[in-house]
Symmetry: C2
Subunit: 231 residues, 2 copies
């Protein structure tokens, strides 16, 4: 507005302290900053590049493609999961670990979807596996079952986070709930007797109930189910 002394370099966004040199670490850190707390902003190579004061093409020196970037960002994030949280018996510590995992993903909703689809091989992801296998071993679950169990536990936790993240990201979700409620109410008890009878339970209870109950179900189920190869 007013006439101010003009510096040589116009400050583009916030006041950025000397353009940092590009590096894989800087790129991953920038990406985490971009999507933290799931602001409406998607993680995009072009957006990330402009955040780092460069062009999209420059990122390809450090990252093969979008997918690899997502995987790197995800593994970095998994480093913040508290694998030693909780006290008491192994069951409670296992539940605490997975709750920490879900909380971490809640803060980065767009990554939860990535986690569902990538089979991650980063160091932090492996540490997560190791911690869970150790707890299951403590509980007497044999390796053949423990491996499948971790898969299942992570799948449940990740899917729960992804669903939450998707809902948080869309303005639609409230309207969607109403539509579901209406659809269920509109059903004749003739054609859908069980659904009508269960309607009151359908959208009830805090979201934490779903996660917690699900984890209990899985742990109880794992303790009761020996592995059998599918015919």
């Amino acid at each position: 507005m007013s006439e101010v002394v003009r510096r040589r370099e116009p400050v583009s966004r916030r006041d950025r302290p000397a353009k940092a040199p590009l590096s894989r670490a800087a790129i991953v850190a920038g990406a985490l900053g971009l999507i933290r707390d799931g602001g409406a902003e998607r993680l995009t190579l072009r957006r990330l590049a402009s955040e780092l004061d460069t062009g999209a093409a420059s990122l390809y020196v450090y990252v093969a493609n979008t997918e690899e970037l997502y995987a790197a960002v995800l593994d970095e994030l998994l480093g913040t999961v508290d694998v030693r949280r909780g006290t008491g018996p192994w069951r409670e510590r296992l539940q605490a670990l997975l709750t920490s995992y879900v909380e971490v993903l809640y803060a980065y909703p767009s990554l939860a979807r990535t986690a569902l689809i990538t089979r991650p091989s980063g160091v932090n992801s492996l540490a997560l596996w190791e911690a869970q296998l150790a707890l299951l071993d403590e509980g007497g679950v044999r390796p053949a079952e423990a491996v499948l169990a971790v898969d299942l536990l992570l799948q449940h936790a990740t899917a729960t986070a992804a669903e939450h993240g998707a809902r948080a990201g869309r303005s639609e979700s409230a309207a969607e709930d109403v539509r579901v409620a209406e659809a269920v109410e509109g059903l004749s008890a003739d054609s859908h007797p069980h659904l009508a009878a269960a309607a009151e339970h359908l959208l009830s209870g805090p979201p934490a109930t779903r996660l917690t109950w699900g984890l209990q179900v899985l742990i109880n189920g794992v303790l009761a189910t020996p592995r059998t190869e599918a015919r």
Copy 2:
């Protein structure tokens, strides 16, 4: 190649019989055709429009946005799930139903991801819920638990299909498996003893084992776990 009699209207793709009039049903049908068997083609408004011999803008008369299209296509697809498959006790019929569900999603890998995130309210989706609630009722599971159980069962089945679909869609997946195997092999047994010990079980067994064992775990767990609200 050779000189053939030239018809008035050049046939654009396959020989299309007189351009069909647009309608919601025609759009959904066209979309299913486009993504059947998960050819590399993504479902895109522009692609779908060109398949229907029109412009993308025209689709907006029948469909509010991409998300709504995906939801409509998904519900249409769920109509082909065999909710009455299987014989014998309720457990086996429940497992047969969910196996049919997964098989259907396998044929349309890109939709499985949609299913993970949308809370569907279409008629076919509701029929799927009703059938599962009926089976759980038969097994003596009370409504409060049954609702959470269906949620969990569908989550597992859907996530399994989505993961499979994602892998089928990417050329990367084989290389990814190798990377995981290498990462696990490269671990010192000192730092990751349980992972090293379980390595042989890690990528073993047919994929069906994961689904089947998971469903057994869930059903056993549900029968053993009363609902308690999270504190």
